[in-house]
Each structure stands twice: as structure tokens, then as C-alpha cells.
């Protein structure tokens, strides 16, 4: 039996174009050779790598997709591109699951796997249903490797709007998909946990319920992202149950979760508020008016539970803070580009 080995892998330092080792290691050899030769400037902005059975190899960067040819040429013309084979997808799946599909059953049921380094891989295929529940996914047809880029320091300049003499305001981050809401949340968690000496803030105990392993990127029990020194993570746990568990067991001062929306999440949030715990969470949306119409959120917003509401946008670039609103008075505190509006309204 002839086994194709990765020749370039040993000589990788000659091709060091910045693509992370963990991502390269999860690609089959044939694709590794293509990716190794890509120029580093296109690697830098890469957000997603997409492998689909029999479809062109492409990646997503700066809000648009690009095709990659067999000779590592990047173009916008799909006809030139390398066609991903079934074999490629299958091998990538094997590498991504670390040869252990049985150990990742829960993750696969949810449709994604976390790689070392906190990168997430979305999985598509044929689902196997048993008792009205997804048992597993077979015949993998597509993979989406989302490159995690922790941006340390993105929240530094807004922390003083979220803190008041060492007390953290309940905060809600509102953002359309792919605008960096999790990145911002992660960095706020890091700052809250480590404390900010420049603001004279000492740091708080934080419990994170990371239902989709997206905030902390836990791989085999170790958080791959820097989320601070006072942070406890409940990984892959349903939000509502997780919040209750944290309240009972870890005595957090702040609870952080991602993407609330279900009615039981709202109940759990209330429970946390009764226990005197501060909250930070995110929700999909584009503006204050839009989220106020949501049935489950309506109550939380009208009661003014969230004292700070951060609205994100991808214009002019991903992760732009469009505005921060005071949730109790509904007044705008700052707007892009970080212009303090409070004095304007006071007059």
C-alpha cells in the first residue's frame, strides 16, 4: 500500500505564510500543499475555509469569497479553482475529529467541532435521526473551518463606559452575524476577569456558560483563548441550566453567555439578577428598535435591566462599535467613532 506523506510539512518554515499550524494539520495533504503556498497577505484576512464535496475550494475574507486554484492562485473566477473531492472532505473530517468521532458525539450533534487553538469547524452532511433527535451526522458533505482570531484589546477603549467605580453594568451586545460580537464579548470577559489597573478596576469572578464552545474555544478541557485569570468556564452546557449551575456552584460576580433568545434563558437571567449577579450577553440584531420588538427580549429591555447596550456593525469594518446606549434612560452614550454624546444630551 502506498501512503502519501506530507513532504512539505517538515519544511514548513520555508513556507511560513502565517497559516496556523492547527488549521494546516486538520487539512488533508493535498490541500495542505495548496495552502502552504498561499501568499501571507491573503492568509491574514482569512475568516473561513470552505470544503464542499465536488465544489470549488474557497475561502472567505473581508466579506467576500475567493477561489483557490491547484497552483495556489487566488481568483474570483470559480472555473479556475481546485475542485474539492469527496476524499478530501472525508480525510479532513477524520483529522478534524482527531480520528475519534466517538469522543465528539455531542459536538457533532450540534454541528460543529472545536479544534486546538479555538478554531471551530462546522459540519454538514446527512443527519441520522433516532427518537426525533439527531443521533449523528454521516456522509459528510461540507466543512466550514472558521479561523478564530482572538483580538486582544478590542474592548480596552470602551471598558470605562461599562464600569462605574468598580461596578460592572449589565451589558447587552447587539450585532448582526459576523460582526465580531463574540470577539468583543471575549475581550470584555478578559478585561473584567484580569481587571484594568488603568481604570483602578480590580477584576471580578466571572462564570462563562459557553454553550457553543465559541467564547473560550475549549479543546480537551483547556481554554484556547485568553479569557482572564478569574474566569470559570462551563463548556458545551445549555445556557439556562449552565447559568443556574454557576450561580449555585461557582459564586460568580458576573455571568457571561452568548446569544440569548429562548424563554428559559430569560428566566435564568432573571434568576441571576435576583442573586445579585451582573450579566453580559449578546443577541443577534441590527438596532435597538429591532430587538425591542422581540417577544422574549421586550420585557428585559422595557424594565431597563441592561444598563449598557452596545450595537455593532461591519461598516466601515468588522467589529465597529456603532453606538453604546444607556439601557435605563435609552440615551445614546457614544456613537461611532467613539464620540461621547452624554454632554450633548445634558445641555
Amino acid at each position: 500500500m502506498e501512503i502519501q506523506k506530507d513532504k512539505n510539512f517538515k519544511n514548513r518554515q520555508f513556507f511560513n505564510n502565517g497559516l496556523k499550524k492547527e488549521i494546516l494539520e486538520s487539512l488533508p495533504i493535498q490541500l495542505r500543499e495548496i495552502f502552504i503556498r498561499l501568499p501571507s497577505e491573503s492568509i491574514k484576512d482569512m475568516e473561513e475555509i470552505r470544503l464542499r464535496n465536488g465544489k470549488p475550494l474557497m475561502f472567505f475574507a473581508k466579506n467576500q469569497d475567493f477561489f483557490i486554484s491547484k497552483n495556489s492562485k487566488i481568483s474570483k473566477d470559480p472555473s479556475q479553482s481546485y475542485l474539492v473531492t469527496k476524499e478530501d472532505v472525508h480525510k479532513a473530517y477524520e483529522l478534524i475529529t482527531d480520528y475519534s468521532v466517538y469522543a465528539l458525539e455531542e459536538e457533532i450533534k450540534n454541528g460543529f467541532v472545536t479544534l486546538k487553538g479555538g478554531h471551530r469547524v462546522g459540519i454538514c452532511g446527512t443527519s441520522v435521526i433516532n427518537n426525533n433527535k439527531i443521533k449523528t451526522i454521516k456522509d459528510i458533505s461540507g466543512l466550514n473551518i472558521r479561523i478564530s482570531k482572538q483580538k486582544i484589546g478590542v474592548s480596552d477603549h470602551i471598558m470605562n463606559y461599562l464600569l462605574d467605580q468598580g461596578i460592572f453594568y449589565n451589558t447587552l451586545i447587539v450585532s448582526p452575524p459576523q460582526c465580531g460580537k463574540t470577539t468583543l464579548l471575549r475581550d470584555i470577559i478578559r478585561n473584567l476577569s484580569n481587571g484594568m489597573p488603568s481604570l483602578g478596576f480590580r477584576g471580578l469572578k466571572i462564570g462563562v456558560v459557553d454553550e457553543r464552545s465559541e467564547i473560550c474555544g475549549v479543546y480537551q478541557g483547556i481554554a484556547q483563548n485568553d479569557i482572564g485569570i478569574r474566569t470559570d468556564i462551563l463548556n458545551a452546557c445549555p445556557k439556562a441550566q449552565g447559568m443556574m449551575m454557576l450561580i449555585r456552584s461557582m459564586s460568580p460576580q458576573v455571568i457571561a453567555t452568548d446569544e440569548i433568545g429562548k424563554i428559559e434563558d430569560i428566566y435564568a437571567l432573571e434568576e441571576a439578577l435576583h442573586a445579585g449577579i451582573k450579566l453580559i450577553t449578546t443577541v443577534h440584531g441590527t438596532s435597538m428598535e429591532e430587538i425591542e420588538k422581540r417577544k422574549n427580549l421586550e420585557y428585559l429591555l422595557s424594565e431597563g435591566i441592561f444598563e449598557r447596550i452596545i450595537i455593532l456593525s461591519n461598516h466601515p469594518k468588522v467589529g465597529t462599535i456603532k453606538m453604546i446606549i444607556d439601557g435605563t434612560t435609552k440615551k445614546i452614550i457614544i456613537t461611532y467613532p467613539l464620540k461621547d454624546r452624554r454632554n450633548v444630551f445634558d445641555h
Binding site: 500500500m1 501512503i3 502519501q4 506523506k5 506530507d6 510539512f9 494539520e25 488533508p28 495533504i29 495542505r32 480525510k91 477524520e94 483529522l95 482527531d98 480520528y99 475519534s100 468521532v101 466517538y102 469522543a103 458525539e105 443521533k135 449523528t136 480537551q220
Partner: protein, 173 residues
């Protein structure tokens, strides 16, 4: 005369040793099949109850297994942990190929091992369990067969060794 007697004793002795060595192979095969059975049981625990990732599980089993076969698991671990693009069955086959000649296993034993590798790690826990059940059944069959062969051929080899020695001595005298 004394030299003659000494030489004949030497011939009988050496041929019976050859006979014993041949029969020892049958005994070894049975023992190694039993060792494999135990190792697979350990591996099953790692996979289905603890859900240890395969690469780590292989390393553990390699260190816990009997010396006669532990190198197979160690080799799989070595190949897979380098992450140079082997799939599980390729690594498994490679490891068996590397160590096959050092064991007393037969071609049929090798075949069931290779078949086992085809499903290793690829499916959910339920199907992994099925795969283990299958290999247990096969190993049991092979153990029976090895036991029979040991009793039949093992004895035959031993007595053949002694008899052949005697025959040579008689012819030479």
C-alpha cells in the same frame, strides 16, 4: 565408541530442541491472541466509556499491553501523533505490517486485525462497540483454532523432533 554415543545424543538433543521450538510457536500464538483480546478490552473501555481520543488511547494501551504485542499500539500512536496525513486504517495497517514478523500470529489473524482497523475511530460509540464485539468473536474463534493446533501440531512437532533425531542416529549407526 564414546564419541559415537556422544554424537548420537547431540543429534537427538538438537532435533528435539528444533521440534520444541516449532511447537513453542503454536503456544506463543495462543498467548498473543489472548494478549490481544485483553488489549482490545482495555481499548474498548477507553473508547466507549471514557471517550479518550484515539491517539491518546493508543499510547495508553501501548504501555498497558503485554510486551509481545504492545509495539503495534505504540506504533499507531507514533504515526498518528505526527499528524502527517495518515488515516487511522493506514496507520493501523502500517503498525501491523511493522510488527507482524515479530509475532507468532498467522496470516488469518492479520486479516481480522486489518478488518478491525477499518472501522476504528470512524463511527459513534454504538458502532465502535459493535466493532469490538466483532473482533472479540473473531479472536475467540482464532483462539480455539490456535488451541487445537497447539494440542495437535504442538505435540506432533515435539515427538517428530525426537523421532527424527533417533532416525538420523539409527541411519548413521
Amino acid at each position: 565408541m564414546i564419541i559415537k554415543i556422544l554424537c548420537s545424543i547431540l543429534i537427538v538433543l538438537s532435533s528435539s530442541i528444533i521440534g520444541y521450538l516449532y511447537s513453542f510457536r503454536y503456544l506463543q500464538r495462543l498467548q498473543q491472541l489472548k494478549d490481544l483480546y485483553i488489549s482490545f478490552q482495555l481499548l474498548e473501555t477507553e473508547i466507549t466509556y471514557v471517550a479518550t481520543p484515539l491517539v491518546i488511547a493508543m499510547e495508553k494501551i501501548g504501555s498497558q499491553s503485554n510486551q509481545s504485542i504492545h509495539q503495534i499500539f505504540k506504533d499507531v500512536h507514533k504515526i498518528l501523533s505526527k499528524r502527517i496525513g495518515y488515516s487511522v486504517d493506514e496507520a493501523w495497517n502500517q503498525a501491523i505490517e511493522n510488527n507482524f514478523n515479530r509475532t507468532a500470529l498467522t496470516q488469518e489473524d492479520k486479516e481480522i486485525l486489518i478488518d478491525f482497523g477499518k472501522n476504528l475511530g470512524r463511527t459513534d460509540q454504538e458502532n465502535q462497540m459493535k466493532n469490538f464485539k466483532w473482533i472479540y468473536l473473531q479472536l475467540q474463534k482464532h483462539q480455539q483454532n490456535a488451541d487445537e493446533l497447539k494440542n495437535k501440531n504442538g505435540k506432533l512437532c515435539k515427538s517428530m523432533g525426537i523421532l527424527a533425531g533417533l532416525a538420523i542416529v539409527i541411519i548413521l549407526i
